[in-house]
Amino acid sequence: MSVRTLLLFIIHLIFNILNGQSLSVLYEENTVEITSVHLHPPQTAGADYAPTIVLSQGAFVTVQDVRSRTQWCLMAYSTTTLPGNTTLTIFPDISSVPAETVGMNTPSQLLLGAQPQPLFSGIGTVDQMLLTFTLDNAHVSQNVNTTPVYIQYQLQEGACPAGP
């Protein structure tokens, strides 16, 4: 390897480092209300919450400053522990973005856990991809008052790994 080649390689590396990719996740609502309409059946005395509640919450993901054809993986995890066996699931709406921006191994849903897991596999810039959410296994006797939900999103280089 000549010195000239080495210098070009280093310049290439520096360019990659300084090329700051940006990630933005914006929620539609700051607070999501779970009410008696979410009982199963709704508004019924003695009923518990439906096993799966589709939240009136959406999030828009924007990834910028990524060169075209560059693959990346959006990961997500949560530091929130919901009461009992209650869980939160995220659904990436791949129809909300152009098909050519959807990469390999995009999962259909992500059950939020404490460790980063693949949520969406993208290619190049993506503008306002929609995420939807469901709440599962909530119970009237366990889920009360206000629970903050903290979700961390990570943008990683390369396509998402194949799922199980």
Partner: protein, 173 residues
Amino acid sequence: MIHPSLLPILAFFAHTTALAQTLWAEENTSFDLYFEPLALVAVNQQEIQLAPPVNENAGFPAFTDSLSTAFYLRYTISPVLPNTPLIHRASLLDGLSSSWNTLPFLPASGTCTLAPSAKHTGTDQFLASTIYGHSGTALHDGIPVVIRIGLSDKKYQYLAADTHWLNLTYQCL
């Protein structure tokens, strides 16, 4: 050939590049899940046995136009906003009618007025009243409730052994 003095520099960039390829950006987000207060009163699907017990095979008791039962409804109540409607629901069999006779009661954490006495017929009917001033979780000895059940003559004749149970549910919504 790479000059030996360049190797540390190359190693540094290789290391930092590897990190950059792993994680480009991170976003910490949050939103609130707000669960509107729903107070559970008593237990769901409480079964009330009528007295005297009905035994159609023995023909006892002799048919009258009504049977009745009185019981104390034990309950646990969770936090609820003032003036929350209290919903009563009774799942009754076809051909049965019933009436409620309830008394106001005083839980440890405030005053609660149960539904006034009322009559309803048919199935899955709702009675609503207002519950006042609850806060915290309180245990109570129970709500005095009297239910009178009316049966038609035909229904009584064909009453199955397990039909003298009623499913009652109570909940504040």
